[in-house]
């Protein structure tokens, strides 16, 4: 490249008009380019903003949809639980009749053949009742209505009675049922005996069901944790066929058996372990399973418990109750619309000389109350026309008006939830007896209110 010419003009302070105009035009063009770039940016920004808003609206709409769907799902689930609970109730009432009559029939002179047949009726009824209870439990748990009691429980006795209960079943299959308890177990704890019995009973019953040879062991221990807290550990070990590893995770889910052939072979609802798991959760405990195919299965339950003082002696309660029933010819009013239940009630008390008047609705109960002095009233809650609650309230009102002594009224119902029982007590009832009625419970309950009566009116 050539060197630049020597006569390059030095830069001067002044510029020519054309140079100035060129610079001005260049600036104006730059400014107009800047304008259009800014406008593009603004528009792009607007578009983004619009998109963001649309997106937000979309998210809101979806969230709302989901909320509605969730509500619908919850409503459906509640409806299902309510349906199950009421269906169970509807089935319980006639079943209660079957079982009650079977029990009453046992007390009549029948042949050995008939005793055997009656035994099958009672066993089958019990089995149906336990399936029904399973379904009711699951619906209660799902509806968050399963209540846990806290009362003194003697652990060693509870497990000994479970062992006693299942020994015949184990013996039938030539299995050894062994209960081994740590030294600490021989004491009272605060807990829910019914639920604990349910969980362990379920595990033991399963173990016996699925074991063809060998043994079922129940290992129980109570481990001190400090601060008055103990850990109750229960292991139920069997020498059964075991469960394949890939099926273990399904065990605790409702309506799931290891495979559907199990239902055909062994029966059952497939609810037991699911209920056990949920009860363990409610009790603050855990349940786990280890299994080796061909060797056996071990279910392990742990739960925190508190030690309790020994409660007052409860033995001979029933003998005391019977003696109260036998004290005199008590006048008893039964208000119950269901014919079967009326018969069951009378049959269960058949051994005692009682004057039982039966009516089948609330209005008649109030009328009967006015016609004759009763020592106790047993009132069904759900009756047509005038309910048990309304009838009781009328009776209480009459007592107030005529200044007559308060007659003890016991509520009879399958609604045994704490909240409902409290409602009955607040509306004028003195006690409550759950259906299906058991002879011992009915006698104890009746003796209880009659004992108070006896104190009020000493014979």
């Amino acid at each position: 490249m050539n060197r630049p010419p020597a006569n390059v003009a030095p830069k001067s302070d002044t510029v020519t008009r054309r140079r100035y105009e060129r610079a001005t035009r260049a600036r104006q063009e730059a400014e107009s380019l800047l304008d259009s770039k800014s406008r593009e940016l603004w528009e792009a920004n607007q578009k983004l903003q619009q998109q963001a808003e649309n997106l937000e609206e979309l998210v809101n709409a979806r969230t709302q949809d989901l909320g509605v769907a969730l509500q619908a799902a919850r409503a459906a689930s509640t409806a299902k639980s309510t349906f199950l609970a009421s269906m169970s109730h509807e089935i319980r009432t006639p079943l209660n009749g079957v079982l009650g009559m079977a029990e009453a029939l046992m007390d009549t002179p029948i042949s050995a053949e008939q005793t055997k047949m009656l035994g099958i009726i009672a066993d089958s009824g019990q089995m149906l009742m336990s399936v029904l209870n399973d379904i009711l439990d699951i619906s209660k748990i799902e509806a968050g209505q399963m209540e846990i009691e806290k009362a003194p429980v003697h652990l060693a006795k509870l497990f000994a009675s479970l062992e006693q209960l299942y020994t015949p079943k184990a013996r039938e299959k030539n299995l050894e049922l062994a209960l081994r308890m740590g030294a600490q177990v021989d004491q009272w704890i605060l807990g829910d005996a019914t639920r604990l019995r349910q969980v362990v009973g379920n595990l033991v019953s399963n173990a016996i069901k699925f074991t063809t040879a060998g043994s079922v062991q129940i290992l129980v221990d109570l481990i001190q944790q400090g601060g008055g807290q103990f850990l109750l550990t229960i292991d139920v070990k069997d020498t059964g066929e075991g469960i394949p590893e890939d099926r273990l995770h399904r065990l605790f889910k409702p309506f799931s058996q290891v495979d559907s052939s199990i239902a055909r072979k062994y029966g059952g609802t497939g609810l037991g372990l699911s209920i056990s798991k949920q009860i363990c959760d409610l009790l603050g405990g855990t349940i786990s399973v280890h299994s080796t195919v061909g060797q056996g299965t071990q279910f392990s339950v742990t739960m925190p418990v508190h030690i309790s003082a020994k409660p007052k002696e409860t033995t001979k309660v029933l003998e005391g109750a019977i003696s109260i029933l036998n004290q005199q010819r008590w006048r008893i009013l039964l208000a119950e619309d269901n014919r079967t239940n009326q018969i069951v009630f009378q049959k269960l008390l058949g051994a005692y000389d009682l004057d039982i008047v039966v009516v089948d609705n609330g209005a008649k109960a109030v009328q009967a109350y006015q016609d004759g002095a009763f020592d106790a009233v047993f009132m069904d809650i759900n009756m047509p026309a005038v309910s048990g609650i309304e009838a009781t309230q009328s009776i209480r009102q009459l007592e107030k008006t005529h200044k007559t002594p308060r007659v003890p009224i016991c509520a009879l119902t399958a609604n045994t939830m704490k909240q409902q029982v409290e409602e009955y007590l607040s509306k004028g009832f003195d006690s409550h007896l759950g259906k299906p009625m058991k002879k011992a419970d009915l006698i104890a309950s009746m003796a209880d209110i009659l004992a108070d009566r006896g104190r009020q009116h000493p014979q």
Partner: protein, 181 residues
Amino acid sequence: MKGVVFVELIAMAESIAGEELVDEIIDSCDLESGGAFTAVGNYPCGELMTLVQAFGQALNAPVEDLQSKFGQWMFTKFIDGYPMFFAGKNDAFTMLESIENEVHVEVRKLYPEAELPSFKTERISDSELMMIYSSERPLVAFCLGMIQACVDHFGTPATITHKDRTENGKYYSDFNIVMAQ
């Protein structure tokens, strides 16, 4: 073509020939833009070729040499104006290799309409790089100047040769850069 190229060409010409001569040359070219260039504008590439031609004539310099000189001028402007492209690069090969996939990517963010040449690179050995230029525009000499300035900037001397060809109206050049051992 981006206005920055025109603005820098005029700045370089002014530094060589002075404002007055440059004004005269611009006026004589009868450009559509009137020679009023702004760095952020876009102008036809033909105007660049016309200006280079006119500057060459006025300065009595071959167009090729002028283009190459201009390439070097542009590269030094890049060093001053865009130090971020040089950060972390220790040799000319790494820098040249980054033009296609780093520098041009950034240029397109600001100027989506920019028509950029392509620079494919291939390392023949540790000391030899092949760089293939392809463009719609006949600016091989301008590239050569840029590559030369890049090599100079990193301080390791190198021999640069190039083989040019045109195909279907496109301009290609295979630049072979061999570092001195």
